[in-house]
């Protein structure tokens, strides 16, 4: 009887320790998850800012000015443009 009790006690202790460790691991993992989620939010913000920056750089007026001024480009004469229709569109 005493032997069985000792054994059960041992099992109990092992289980208790297991519970403690798993709880600890869970909390640690959750903390990591939370950190990653924060990082995600942060990256989302940065993405927004970059999008903003991209839009500002690619403003039509700015692109046009640089193309015409710095790069000396111009809109091609309509006579030199051929518009190709796709067969599906031509049918319509």
């Amino acid at each position: 009887m005493a032997k069985l009790n000792l054994l059960l006690l041992l099992v109990l202790v092992v289980c208790a320790l297991g519970l403690v460790t798993s709880q600890h691991t869970a909390r640690k993992l959750f903390s990591d998850l939370d950190r990653e989620q924060q990082r995600e939010r942060q990256l989302d913000i940065v993405y927004g800012q970059l999008q903003l920056e991209a839009s500002t750089w690619s403003l039509h007026a700015r692109v046009g000015k640089i193309a015409a001024g710095t790069l000396g480009m111009h809109v091609p004469d309509p006579r030199r443009v051929v518009v190709v229709t796709r067969p599906a569109e031509a049918k319509r």
Binding site: A26, S31, A54, S55, L59, H60, V75, P78
Partner: protein
């Protein structure tokens, strides 16, 4: 000392032992009572207190949705900023610290001191919406009593080009104008909150419950093409400046889908910096202002007459001597002609011809037409403050009013309504519902007039932009254009101002298979050129030429340089 004496000394009265025992029992009973009280009666309260040591309710922020153009380019984006606030009573800062704080926040020393002196208040904003970098520097100063609050600020990379359309949000991130207001409910996020367990170091170790899930605002993709928008805005701005006009507006539609591709107004403003705004800058004229359109309305009168077989395009009209008197009012033509065909009435923009046709029509038929193309009712774009224009009930029309309405006086519409109505001619008689949100799919509309009538009017509109018509400056290289000019006297104090005009042009291209429709309105062009054909038509041509190229629309006209009429005498018109 003798042993016999001892027992006599230790003999104590029995009651003392009992007293001590009773005292112990009493104390024990008190302890038991107390523990029962704590365990059974106050357990909830105590558990709450205990939890408060480690569990926290966290706010989960939600961001406002982005507004994008049809190609995914950002038109409005929220990014986080910080607001600095203080509890004035708690602030303990040295002179040096205050000086640096003032410098960081861009405040005057005196102003900072004044704010810090408001000790009766518990919450004073020092500065709202500063960049996260500056906020970090403020935090590094480590002044007690100075706190930060996270907020969002909306940025509009399109600036003045898309200002009227997109609108803006207030400091509390709620829409105040334009799309921002119209789509507030879907753009706005719902901040949530959750209960978590934090460890000694402040790290979150367990999520206990989500009290309310945060919902980010949904992104909104508009039908606007920012390239066409930009082109339209700059063309309009240049024209308004060139003619010294008070204001102007332009609307571009995709005829197939009913999508609004561009909508711009001048004067505009920069939505990122709204410190000096005037009412004139804020007005979205294309949508919220109605005006008397003038001759741009004539095609609808002609369409009614054609639809009911009262005339055909070749019917000759007697228009001599270039004026028509009804009661005490006389209608004039800018180019008096003796006889004109119906097609030429449109081409030359003859008021007398249009009035004569209108007078042959039952009032109700005309009114039906106006009503069915959407005049007198808001265009249902969900845009705040859409003008519905004004069409009086036909029962109250007098003959002179019916005659003037034929050429667009005594009736008012918004520029967007006018553009919308013209889709009837561009889509073979079908009125297309408009949308500000990208659909990408061809729209199904309601048939208003027969295919034949629409084609006939379209041919007349093509004639109007040919040499000999009022709007040859609307022509472009490579595509056939159809459209109508308008030059209306402005209403003022119940009458018409002698030298104030609204020049307009509405048209579409390519005429063989319309793809795009543009309506331009220029308010009070100063100087000698004020006709729609001279002021508004060139804006139309410029934008149409660029937009059709961007949309890769196949050419339907020979690619020859256009011969522009020299003096623009043909552009003259009475309305």
């Amino acid at each position: 000392m003798s042993l016999a004496a001892a027992p006599a000394l230790v003999r104590l009265p029995v009651w003392r032992a009992r007293f001590v025992l009773a005292a112990f029992m009493l104390v024990f009973a008190v302890l038991v009572g107390r523990s029962v009280y704590l365990q059974a009666m106050k357990t909830g309260f105590l558990q709450e207190k205990g939890e408060a040591r480690y569990s926290r309710v966290m706010e989960v922020p939600a961001t406002r949705g982005r507004i994008l153009d049809r190609n995914g380019e950002a038109l409005a984006v929220s990014t986080p900023v910080k607001s600095i606030w203080v509890i004035p009573d708690d602030v303990k800062a040295s002179r040096e610290q205050k000086k640096r704080l003032a410098a960081l926040l861009g405040l005057e020393r005196r102003e900072l001191n004044r704010k810090l002196a408001e000790t009766s208040r518990d919450f004073v904003y020092l500065k709202r919406q500063i960049s996260p970098d500056t906020a970090a520097k403020v935090e590094a100063l480590g002044i007690p009593g100075v706190y930060q609050q996270r907020e969002y600020r909306r940025y509009y990379p399109g600036g003045e080009v898309t200002a009227h359309l997109v609108g803006f949000t207030g400091v509390d991130d709620a829409g105040q104008e334009g799309i921002e207001l119209a789509f507030q409910s879907s753009l706005a996020g719902q901040p949530g909150s959750r209960r978590v367990i934090k460890d000694r170091l402040g790290r979150i170790v367990e999520d206990v419950e989500s009290i309310r899930a945060a919902q980010d605002g949904r992104d909104l993709t508009l039908s606007i093409d920012s390239k066409i928008q930009s082109l339209a805005y700059s063309a309009l701005r240049n024209a308004v400046a060139l003619h010294g006009a008070k204001a102007g507006a332009i609307v571009a539609l995709d005829v197939r889908t009913g999508e609004v591709l561009a909508l711009a107004n001048v004067p505009s403003y920069n939505p990122n910096n709204r410190s000096h705004l005037s009412g004139a800058q804020l007005r979205n004229r294309a949508l919220t202002d109605s005006f008397e359109p003038g001759s741009t309305l004539k095609p609808f009168t002609i369409a009614v007459a054609l639809e009911h077989h009262r005339i055909s395009p070749s019917t000759r009209m007697q228009t001599a001597p270039g004026k028509l008197t009804i009661g005490s009012y006389t209608i004039h033509d800018a180019h008096p002609e003796s006889t004109l065909s119906v097609a030429q009435v449109i081409q030359k923009s003859s008021n007398v011809g249009a009035a004569k046709i209108a007078l042959e029509l039952p009032r109700q038929q005309m009114w039906n037409m106006f009503e069915r193309v959407g005049f007198g009712a808001p265009p249902q774009l969900r845009f705040p403050g859409e003008a519905s224009g004004k069409v009086r009930p036909w029962q109250t029309w007098r003959p002179i009013e019916q005659a003037t309405m034929a050429y667009g006086h005594g009736i008012s519409v918004s520029l967007l309504q006018l553009a919308h109505a013209y889709t009837v001619f561009a889509r073979d008689g079908v009125l297309v519902p408009l949308t500000l949100v990208r659909t990408g799919a061809p729209a199904h509309g309601v048939r208003v007039i027969s295919r034949r009538t629409a084609r006939e009017v379209r041919d007349m509109l093509e004639l109007a932009v040919q040499p000999g018509g009022t709007g040859p400056r609307a022509r472009i290289v490579g595509w056939r254009v159809a459209g109508k000019t308008g030059t209306a006297h402005k209403q003022e104090n119940g009458g018409y101002a002698a030298h104030k005009y609204i020049a307009s042009f509405v048209g579409f291209a390519p005429a063989s298979n319309p793809r795009m429709l543009i309506a331009v309105m220029i308010d009070e062009p100063a100087g000698s050129e004020y006709y729609g054909g001279l002021v508004a038509a060139p804006v139309f041509a410029q934008v149409m030429q660029g937009a059709l190229r961007m949309l890769n629309v196949p050419h339907d006209a020979p690619l020859e340089p256009l011969e522009l009429p020299g003096k623009g005498d043909d552009a003259k018109e009475g309305t």
